[in-house]
């Protein structure tokens, strides 16, 4: 299993994909934090108030979207480029390949979370100074939110691998992910918030302590998001992985 994980890590390092998406994740988070600081300040909410900090710090996980897409490409990309055959010739017990991809993506997702959280924190602190406020570095909630960002980004990497395992068509898998997060859940939030809170993207927002109404507790969100990942990956292992390539 160690060799397989090392091979998957090598795969990830030897294309430019991961560098591009990591950079995009940082840019997204920094842009989101910048926007949140300006919007909060504009709306008259004090930056250092609980509400203000929640609004600003909960968007530090925005870059996780790029991590999710990277996870999809790590799994479904093997079919897109035709490397799946060589991979399965090397490792005919295909579930081991999926497990190795999950392990490597968890590490990469955690690393991406660390980088985006650090960049977001620095951005927020700098903007607070510009706005004449002092960033509350000693506030425990700040660090809890950033810990949530790490968990959120890591889980989104795993969710991406799970989705790309279940839906082997890379384009379709990405389309499903974006449509779900961007359209389906958005509609359900307004139509049926009591249901929407249990859906993956909303559960993710709970993990980063988003000040949206009706979200689950951070821990509840973590559990729900993990269950989705396990369920989708399980379905992929059961129904998709063994299929002919």
């Amino acid at each position: 299993m160690g060799d397989l994980v090392a091979a998957e890590w090598l795969k990830l390092r030897t294309t430019r994909l991961v560098y591009g998406t990591a950079a995009a994740a940082v840019l997204l988070s920094v842009a989101a934090v910048t926007g949140a600081v300006l919007a909060t300040d504009r709306s008259g909410t004090p930056l250092t108030s609980t509400r203000g900090l929640e609004q600003i710090l909960s968007v530090t996980g925005t870059g996780a979207l790029m991590v999710l897409l990277t996870g999809v490409l790590v799994a479904a990309g093997e079919h897109r480029h035709g490397t799946a055959a060589d991979t399965f010739l090397t490792t005919p017990r295909r579930h081991r390949v999926v497990l190795a991809k999950l392990a490597v993506s968890a590490g990469a997702g955690l690393a991406a979370g660390l980088i985006t959280a650090a960049a977001s924190l620095a951005t927020a602190a700098a903007l607070f100074t510009v706005e004449g406020a002092t960033f509350p570095v000693g506030d425990g909630d700040v660090w809890l939110t950033l810990a949530g960002t790490l968990a959120y980004t890591t889980l989104f990497a795993l969710l991406g691998v799970a989705l790309g395992t279940l839906i082997r068509n890379q384009v379709l898998a990405i389309a499903v992910a974006l449509a779900w997060i961007g359209i389906v859940e958005h509609i359900l939030i307004s139509l049926a918030p009591s249901i929407a809170r249990w859906l993956p993207a909303m559960a993710g927002l709970a993990v980063v302590r988003s000040p949206i109404d009706d979200v689950l507790s951070p821990l509840g969100g973590l559990v729900v998001l993990t269950l989705y990942t396990v369920a989708i990956c399980g379905a992929g292992l059961r129904f998709a992985v063994a299929r002919d390539v």
Partner: protein, 294 residues
């Protein structure tokens, strides 16, 4: 040794492979030939565990592929459907596979030399020609120094020198005692190197033969075919008068045919020896009912 027994692969109503049986023994090059769409690649995918047979088995050394202890060290394969990540270099492609299979990376450089890609190893595969991809695929198949080698249309995209190079490799591997199974839709590519041929069409095996059992033949044209046929009959030599007036004499040397013609006072206008490859080709077209245009 590869054994395929009763192999059937259905896609809906279509039987891509239908009750196919054949063997590819160690120490021999077995040519697997048939027109495009005959089921060659599907057979290979079943053999390599990439597709699940509907019925029957395809075994390597008595085991299903997925039951092999160290598949990459036991079987090396190149399939047409195999691809490469365009942004990954040739060397990194091999490094990934070696790593996953637990094969020492020291094997990579000699293999790059063997397939002539040492100079292009650091370049992204996206910029490789079809022939370079074939060579990289071959290097990947050889990573584990496998005793069984399975190649699907290995000379597609190679120039004539490359084709001759692959033929020499196939011969050398078989002479080392390896099992070599190689498919092609062009029989002439294999005729010079295959020890055995398995011909399939529409998923069925139509014939399986040792190439050594296919003797060459002599084709002769004369001014009086009737007299020549009578002379061959008198000499007890098997022959066939073809529609175009030429006489085909299997298993005979041109000199002998010439002597028979001289004794019968028949003037020879054309005397040609058909090679084993020509015989193979004739057998292939008879068996597949095709005209060679796939």
């Amino acid at each position: 040794m590869i054994e395929v027994a009763g192999l059937t692969k259905r896609y809906g109503e279509h039987r891509a492979v239908d009750d196919l049986s054949f063997t590819a023994p160690a120490g021999k090059v077995t040519g697997f030939v048939g027109p495009n769409g005959a089921g060659k690649t599907t057979t290979f995918r079943c053999l390599l565990g990439l597709a699940e047979p509907t019925a029957g088995v395809a075994l390597v050394d008595g085991l299903r592929y997925r039951d092999l202890a160290a598949p990459r060290r036991q079987v090396g394969a190149v399939l047409e459907s195999m691809g490469f990540h365009p942004a990954r270099s040739g060397r990194n492609h091999l490094r990934v596979l070696a790593r996953a299979a637990g094969i020492e990376p020291a094997r990579i450089d000699p293999l790059l030399d063997l397939v002539g890609l040492r100079g292009a190893a650091e370049r992204r595969v996206g910029g490789y020609s079809l022939g370079m991809r074939q060579r990289l695929g071959l290097a990947a198949a050889l990573l584990g120094d496998p005793p069984t080698i399975v190649l699907d249309e290995p000379v597609n995209g190679l120039d004539p020198a490359g084709v001759a190079w692959v033929r020499r490799l196939l011969r050398a591997w078989a002479d080392e005692g390896r099992t070599v199974l190689v498919s092609s839709h062009l029989l002439v590519e294999l005729a010079q190197v295959a020890d055995r041929v398995v011909v399939i069409r529409d998923g069925h095996r139509v014939t399986e033969a040792d190439v050594s059992s296919l003797a060459g033949s002599v084709t002769v044209r004369v001014d009086r075919p009737d007299a020549m046929v009578a002379a061959l009959l008198a000499a007890g030599v098997g022959h066939e008068l073809r529609g175009d007036g030429a006489i085909s004499v299997p298993g005979c040397e041109p000199a002998e045919v010439g002597r028979i013609a001289a004794r019968a006072s028949v003037a020879v206008t054309e005397l040609a020896r058909a090679t084993v490859g020509d015989s193979l080709e004739a057998m292939f077209f008879t068996a597949t009912g095709g005209d060679g245009r796939g």
